[in-house]
């Protein structure tokens, strides 16, 4: 797309008009992007509790009031029904539609969750001189189901999903410190080195995304991944569920710097 977009607000306006329907990776760098999960109110408490109990894979940026598609914190003038480029609509665990807006699916009992995304820390890694292999190779980040169980909450349970970035031991130590500054973008790694220790059988066969090259002087470094809450929500087979379409994120008004460290009270 050759649109010249400079802010989250501009991306959202183009989505709303139907003029932007592409993946959001690389759009308006420096603006926080977010995963979207929308559940009926009867499942909202369990899903909120699941996120609260598993903050590394499920860092909550904003929970909207029941029935409201308007964000209050992460963006002004945003409407979650129209402002993402593409959605997935599920009944039980079946995808029934992949539309560019969800106006016709909206209901007064829906509760929307916006969750932090690793784009924030990939940018921080690059800016600190640490190469991000999947970007250099033009691929989607490799992701794996692990044998680490998430802490269950009501109907929601499942394994932790991790993303992997290969790097030298020296970069791994720096990356741990850098990503630790962003607890609301998955924070520091959950594992490094031997994949079998977290139940990954074949590092070259990711469960999601694409494999990337690991050089002989490198180790794989694993971070909690935002696919976890989506995978868990879908696997729970709740009767109705909406998410963003993979890679087609919500682009917020927040800058990456605003995601660093503690939340603010004002």
């Amino acid at each position: 797309m050759s649109l010249n977009l400079n802010t989250g607000s501009e991306v959202r306006a183009q989505c709303r008009k139907g003029d932007f329907t592409a993946p959001t990776a690389g759009q308006v760098p420096g603006f926080v992007q977010a995963n979207l999960v929308i559940v009926p109110a009867e499942f909202a408490y369990d899903f909120l509790l699941f996120c609260q109990r598993n903050p590394k894979p499920c860092p909550i940026l904003e929970v909207l009031d029941k029935g409201s598609p308007q964000t209050r914190l992460i963006a002004t003038d945003a409407d979650l029904r129209t402002d993402l480029p593409k959605y997935r609509v599920y009944e039980s665990d079946k995808i029934i539609d992949e539309p560019n807006n969800i106006n016709k699916y909206w209901r007064d009992d829906l509760v929307s969750f916006l969750l932090g995304c690793s784009f924030t820390f990939d940018r921080a890694l690059r800016e600190n001189g640490i190469p991000v292999r999947h970007e250099d190779e033009g691929r989607n980040v490799p992701m794996y189901r692990t044998n680490i169980p998430c802490k269950s909450a009501g109907v929601f349970q499942g394994p932790l999903v991790v993303s992997m970035r290969p790097m030298t031991a020296d970069f791994a130590l720096q990356a741990s410190r850098i990503t630790g500054r962003f607890p609301r973008a998955h924070g520091s790694p959950v594992h490094l080195g031997d994949p079998s220790q977290i139940g990954i059988g074949n590092i070259n066969r990711p469960d999601y995304g694409e494999s990337v090259t690991i050089h002989t002087n490198e180790i794989p470094v694993f971070w909690a991944c935002g696919v976890t809450p989506q995978a868990v929500a879908v696997a729970s087979k709740i009767p109705f569920l909406i998410t963003h379409s993979p890679g087609h994120m919500f682009v917020s008004d927040w800058t990456d710097n605003q995601l660093e460290g503690e939340e603010k009270v004002r």
Copy 2:
């Protein structure tokens, strides 16, 4: 009390027998203590969302499953019905009882929240050579209602309550760094200096606790306070509510070090 208690488990066992009914300040230093709020399930989603939206005053350590008084994370073998020294039971906003256990009030629809407490960071301040005035003067920490509104959630709304510790500017800068390491014990300060900027009329007239001496070379430093969620829960006049009695906290198995920084996935 002259009991020789060495762990959270020992404090809880003495509470359970009815042999420990005193404030927990200074008991088994280094073990994390927690605020307790118990609400009927119909209010649990709103209260969880209130805490999620206001993490500095309301840092959640654990939310128990509906009807369960047994913790899963913060302590093993703990029973919230018996393991605190003293409780407050409310109907609407009236205290109807202040018992040493809540066995007779327990219901299958109750949801228990354990929230972080400033004892953790007071200890960290002292260990870093920063005097903690209210402790030196043998008083309760001074606390104030501010004009900073919390982010509301359903029936729960109200102003941020802060605690205050006076110190030199140099200590204030160090204290900001030190307490910032503990986001689940209220984290870094929310204000320092002029109290009127956050709606405090008279620094010598705290709304809760007791006033302390402020020397002429010192400034007041303000932290988000765990009284906030309790005050908000009581002010909402929900029909039934149980909290710990002020100062009579839940003593966990976690050590202060486990509260530092990010939460863990395992």
